[in-house]
Symmetry: C2
DNA sequence: CTTCAATTCTTGAATATTCAATATTTTCAA
DNA sequence: TTGAAAATATTGAATATTCAAGAATTGAAG
């Protein structure tokens, strides 16, 4: 009888793989919806975080929208050109830049939110209410336990 | 009483976001382990899929390792240079290229598997046996329901 | 005070990914 | 059997991301 080693487990059974696959699929669907407004998912996240009206530093934003710092800087450059957001130097700490959402950004964000809600609703239909909330709960606790 | 609209749900409660966050974190951890052998996660996936010893076409591989086609081609180019895998034209359909793992690839794959198992074990410890298998189950069914 | 380390953000060069176009082979209908 | 459409993989140009270095500011120890 062979030793029951986990080393030969097919890739499709690894948690890391399942997460990547699910993420890829859901993200692809969301991308598709948001492309109606020509906006990448990351920009929607940025707008959503900023839509509390407060200023958020670049470092804070980078963490919140899951982008590393230089990538965020360049994406923000584009969004500033599109007048969706704007920079203000933090008066309390001049190393920091505070990002704010513009009026135009708010308008766009509303449209994007509704597209995103459409998707969540679509998932709820095909996947089920119960599974969805259970999955969310488990993901949250996985994220917690990883820190 | 305001209408209970979902449009203002914070980003952290969206399934798409939770998936992205969990994926990012778990992937980062795996990356860290595999970097001991200087191999990106995608290459481990490729080696693992090919380690059944059969030939796999590029299209098949691309789907299995979650890379799009041109990206895979270029990654395979590198792996061929490193003599981890090799190409054979499919005799039955000469449009296709069949990929095979080399002996060197097999040796590397073994080491990588054990690093990956380490990680899964680490997750099991901190996150729990039950949660892990429940999460896997839910992810699988989410993926199924998205097709 | 002053200087040195740490924090925050940006920049430029090196890499990697993606999109559109191309080349090759197969399929299939006329 | 021929010719057009589909399938498969690669390539090259355009974009995007990352890594390492740089500039500015703050904090804090001496």
């Amino acid at each position: 009888m062979a030793k029951p080693s986990k080393e030969n487990t097919p890739i499709t059974e690894h948690l890391a793989y399942l997460l990547a696959q699910a993420n890829r699929e859901i993200n692809r669907q969301l991308e598709l919806r948001l492309s109606k407004e020509g906006v990448p998912v990351e920009q929607w996240r940025i707008l959503k975080v900023l839509s509390d009206g407060n200023g958020h530093s670049m470092g804070e934003l980078a963490g919140a929208v899951l982008l590393n710092h230089p990538t965020l800087t360049k994406m923000i450059d584009r969004m500033v050109s599109d007048t969706l957001v704007y920079r203000v130097q933090d008066p309390g700490d001049r190393r920091k830049v505070l990002m704010f959402i513009s009026d135009r950004g708010k308008v766009l964000c509303k449209k994007l939110n509704s597209l995103a809600v459409d998707q969540e609703e679509h998932i709820l239909e095909s996947y089920g209410d119960k599974s969805t909330s259970e999955l969310k709960r488990l993901l949250e606790s996985l994220i917690d336990s990883s820190n």
